[in-house]
């Protein structure tokens, strides 16, 4: 666990986001203030529909917010043009999705290489680096396998390798363990801490899986579009069960 982390990777001040118009309007974020420090693993927790996914989408620069300020590594996302934001994501952000989103017709090494291919790296070089990352997540021997041949835990390892291959400074993970059993989820989080966390990288993990709270440096608890509290991570908070943030 990283103990000293002072530089701010992500800063959200008064962030709001509303979907729809008129009577069907839904306010997803109601003035979010949050900081994610470089080197830390921050978990966003809360019940379904509390705005976790919206917030992570805004932080990852794939969704525009309505008001407030979001800075990622000092850069104001609203000031960026659409193409600049796309480039910014490609250079600085790694993604781990709940459903892995591995392209089923590519081998796992090729899947890991995708962010590099997007960046214009030659295929052979990208795949070589992809294989090296697969070695680090412990499935290097299966580099030529299609994702469908792997278990859920192994697929999430591939997704973690993919999120790291271009050496991003921020990794956002959406429910990385919700498709996995307890033991596999635990191993995936251990791997995440082992290979993804570092002094120069921040991790934001959206989850409502209380079993993995122990891996967080800090836990931001959300409800109804607001941050209720930000507490230190570690062992599972005693009030998690009462607050409905445990597994459903």
């Amino acid at each position: 666990m990283v103990e000293t982390a002072t530089e701010i990777a992500v800063s959200c001040v008064g962030v709001t986001k509303t979907y729809g118009e008129g009577q069907s309007q839904v306010t997803a974020l109601r003035g979010i203030d949050l900081e994610v420090r470089q080197g830390e693993l921050l978990m966003l927790v809360g019940p379904s529909g509390c705005g976790k996914t919206t917030l992570i989408s805004v932080i990852a620069a794939i969704l525009d917010h309505d008001a407030g300020e979001v800075r990622v590594f000092g850069e104001d996302l609203r000031e960026m043009s659409s193409s600049r934001r796309t480039r910014f994501r490609g250079e600085n952000i790694g993604f781990v999705f709940q459903q892995f989103n591995l392209i089923p017709t590519l081998t796992i090494a090729e899947n890991v290489a995708v962010p590099l291919l997007i960046a214009g790296v030659r295929r052979s070089e990208a795949v070589r680096r992809g294989r090296a990352l697969l070695d680090r997540v412990g499935i290097g021997d299966r580099w030529n396998t299609l994702p469908s041949k792997l278990s859920g835990g192994q697929q999430q390892r591939v997704a973690i390798a993919r999120s790291l291959v271009h050496n991003p400074r921020l990794i956002v993970c959406d429910e990385p363990t919700s498709s996995l059993d307890h033991e596999t989820g635990h191993k995936v989080m251990e791997l995440m801490r082992e290979v993804a966390a570092g002094a120069d990288r921040a991790l934001v993990v959206v989850t409502h899986d209380a079993r993995i709270f122990e891996f967080a440096d800090r836990i931001a608890r959300m409800d109804d579009g607001r941050i209720l509290s930000v507490t230190k991570g570690g062992p599972r908070p005693p009030d998690a069960r009462e607050r409905g943030t445990g597994p459903h």
Partner: protein
């Protein structure tokens, strides 16, 4: 990203084959129907192509096509010969006469009368006999299709094959005896009637008595004389119409295009191929894109630019287009090859390949455009909606 696009496409076998099938079908139908149409249209002026030697055809001004005979006075031949720049000019008779069959029936035949002295305008390929044999009394030369088909004698046994007319056999043409001295090969005509070659004087004897027996004057230009210029001179001097070989072919072609329903009928078939191909390929390609939308969205989230995604979809569309077109054209060519010696008219030209290629390109572009719109509108944020 090209590599990712290709693997996404070919890895999804069912959809890949579905798209290919749609495009192959469209390509096959468009190419095959267009080739049959082109073959049929070439038959309309097959006789002009077969008539080797002349540079220019001279005829009545009102003639609309090769079969539209408006007889001329024989004196016109001499007037044409008098035009400066004409190397030689020969008469040609062309008419429809009835041949009496052995079973008592009649068969209408194209009778071609060639200049008695030079036999200019005779068939290009003699299978049996010689063209010069036409100088013998009552002689005619038959085309092989007519000899083996409509003019063939009835089978000697019940259910047996008809006996082809051969050299030495006799025919009855308009109550005149005609002796077959040769068998030739000609381009199949549009009407598929037997073609009978004989001399000009004998043809006019076979034909019912007419005041104006001359159908066309065949003209050879002197070396170095511009053919179009000579046409204008002949027209000015005689008041007749004069066309180059190509010009007369075009006139005939245009007539059939303009005054018959053939282009519409074939056009409908080609259009159907285009529409069905677009529907199948477009729908399957769109479904393929929709099924992969979460991957496209993930690529967007990971920093793929719109231009990269656009390039991926276009590449996928062009790959299936090229392969589908190739298979379709190949199948159409095979179809033409296998039926080469039949009644089927089939002419596959490079122009048709270009047209069918363009049609497939349009289908692929339309399919890709629908898919591109879907991908461009996809929010990368959907990747977080598990």
């Amino acid at each position: 990203m090209k590599f990712v696009a290709i693997k996404m496409l070919v890895g999804d076998r069912a959809r890949y084959l579905g798209i290919l099938m749609g495009l192959t079908f469209a390509s096959l139908l468009i190419t095959q129907q267009a080739a049959i149409f082109e073959g049929l249209m070439h038959r309309t002026f097959g006789f002009i192509t077969d008539t080797g030697g002349p540079d220019i055809w001279v005829m009545d001004k009102k003639v609309l096509m090769i079969e539209d005979i408006k007889p001329l006075q024989e004196t016109m031949l001499y007037r044409v010969r008098g035009v400066e720049g004409v190397d030689w000019a020969m008469p040609l008779y062309k008419g429809l006469l009835k041949a009496r069959l052995e079973n008592g029936g009649f068969q209408t035949c194209h009778v071609i009368g060639l200049d008695d002295a030079t036999l200019v305008g005779g068939p290009g390929t003699m299978i049996e006999g010689r063209l010069e044999d036409l100088r013998r009394a009552d002689s005619v030369i038959l085309d092989i299709v007519g000899a083996e088909g409509k003019l063939a004698r009835a089978a000697t046994e019940k259910g047996g094959k008809a006996v082809p007319i051969k050299v030495g056999d006799t025919l009855e043409l308009n109550d005149h005896r005609a002796i077959v001295v040769g068998i030739c090969r000609t381009t199949r005509t549009f009407q598929s009637q037997p073609v009978i070659y004989t001399t000009y004087s004998r043809a006019t004897q076979f034909a019912p008595q007419e005041r104006k027996p001359l159908s066309f004057v065949l003209v050879k230009a002197k070396d170095g004389v511009d053919r179009l210029e000579l046409c204008r001179k002949i027209e000015a001097a005689t008041g007749l119409a004069a066309y180059t070989q190509k010009g007369f072919q075009d006139l005939t072609y245009s007539y059939f295009m303009k005054y018959t329903g053939i282009p519409i009928n074939f056009g409908i078939a080609v259009l159907l191929g285009f529409i069905v191909g677009t529907a199948i390929a477009g729908q399957t390609f769109f479904n393929f894109t929709v099924d992969n939308i979460k991957y496209f969205a993930a690529l967007k989230a990971m920093g793929a630019r719109d231009s990269q995604l656009l390039g991926m979809i276009l590449l996928q569309a062009m790959i299936v287009g090229a392969i589908g077109w190739g298979i379709g054209v190949g199948a159409a060519s095979l179809f033409g090859l296998l039926l080469h010696d039949t009644e089927l008219s089939f002419l596959l030209t490079w122009q048709l390949l270009t047209i069918s290629g363009f049609a497939i390109l349009v289908i692929c572009t339309l399919s890709a455009l629908i898919s591109i719109r879907t991908v461009m509108r996809a929010e990368p944020a959907i990747v977080f909606k598990g």
